[in-house]
Point group: C2
Chain length 216, copies 2
Amino acid sequence: MTGLMAPNAQPGSKPAVILDAAVRLFLDSGFGNVSMDMVARAAGVSKATLYAHFRSKDELFAAMMAQRCDGLMDGMGCEALCGMPVAEALTVIARRFFTLLLSPKTLAVHRVVLAESHRFPELARAFYESGPAVAIGRLSAFLADADRRGRLTVPDSELAAEQFLGMLKSHLHLRLLLGMEQVPDEAEIARFVNGAVGLFTRGYAPAVSPPAPSGS
Amino acid sequence: MTGLMAPNAQPGSKPAVILDAAVRLFLDSGFGNVSMDMVARAAGVSKATLYAHFRSKDELFAAMMAQRCDGLMDGMGCEALCGMPVAEALTVIARRFFTLLLSPKTLAVHRVVLAESHRFPELARAFYESGPAVAIGRLSAFLADADRRGRLTVPDSELAAEQFLGMLKSHLHLRLLLGMEQVPDEAEIARFVNGAVGLFTRGYAPAVSPPAPSGS
DNA sequence: GTCTATAGATCGATAGAC
DNA sequence: GTCTATCGATCTATAGAC
C-alpha cells in the first residue's frame, strides 16, 4: 500500500475495534448508507471517541479500505509453479484466482471501491495496485518464463495475463457483483477453470510441437 | 425491458425534460449524491412538478435507468456475420463490443448500476438481461453456428462466448470504471481485439485442419 | 480520552395558493 | 399542472462536562 494511513492496529485497542466495526458496516452497506452513529454504536464507543481517532468519515473509510486491500493477494505466490507442467500450473493459478475473486470479502471490496471510486480516486488506485495489478504482474511473469523455456509461445505476456484472468472473470464476476447469483459450486468452477486453461494452452501452444501432455 | 415503467417520452414534454436532466445528473454523480432539488433545477421545473410526475426519487431513478438500458445493445446484431470467415466476423463483433463497452455512456451505466444494485435488485437484473446477457446470447448463437458448420470446434458455446467477451473486458474495463485510464486509442483497441481473436481462433480451431488463414 | 447533548446543514416529500 | 414555502427526519461534526 502507498501509505493512506493504517493506525496502529493493536488488536483490542479502540482504533482496531472501530475499524472492525467500520469494515463490517461499510463493506455490507456501502459508504453512503452507513452513518457515523451506526459505526459508533457497532463499535461500542461514543461518536466523540470515534472522531478522536478518525478526523472524518472519509478518513475512516479510507483507513478501512487500506486495511482490506493490504492482504488482498496473499496466497497468490507463483514461486513453486515454475517447475510444474504449464497446464497444471495454470490450473492452480486459476483456482486460486477464482477462489479469491469470488469470495464474499473480495466481492464486497469490489462493490464498495467501484461505488466510491469517484469520491476517492486515490483509493481506487490503491485498490487496483494492491489487487488486480499484482495478479496480472505475477501471471505475466510466469507466462514470460514459460515462453522463455519453450512451453508456450506468448509474444505479449501482459496481454496474455489479462486475457487469462479476463476469461475467468468473464461475466460471472459481474453477475455476482450485481447480486444475481450465489457463489458457484465446484462443478461450475471446474467448468470455467478447465475451459480457460484448455483454450489458453491450445491457443498459446509452442510453435510446431506435438500435443504431448506431460513430457516435452 | 421487463416493464419498469418508462413514461410517455413525448420529446419536449415535462417528463422527458425531467428524465433528461436525471440521466445527466445520476449517471454523472450516482444516486446518493444527487438531490431532488438538483434535478428540479437542472430540468427547469419546481420540485412539486417533479413529484407530480415521479412519485419518489427511487421511481425517477428506476425510470431513468430503464430508459438507458433499452437501446443498450443496438448495433450488436450478428445476422450478416454468419457468412463471413470466422476470424473476420469475430473481429467485427469484438470491435463493436469494445466500442460499446468502453463508451462513456456505457461505463456510466455500469458504475451506477453496480453502485445501487443492492438498493435496486430488479434494476440490476433488468440491466444485465438487456445488456451483457444479450451480448452473450448472440455471440453464443454465432459460435454454435460456426461449430455446426465446422469452422470452429466449440463444445460449450455459452462458455466460449463468456471467455471471448471476458478476454476483451479483461481488467481494462475495471481500470476505466475506476477512473484510472482514459478510453484507449486505436492501437490499444487493436491490440486487445487482435489478441482475443487470435487466441480464440487458434484455441477453438477445427480438429485437424491446416492453419490456413483465409480459405477453409 | 470518554461521554451526553446539540448545533448546523441537507434532503425527501408535502401543503396550499394560483 | 405549476409554483413557493416548509415540515420532519437524518447526518456530520463539535462543544463542554467529567
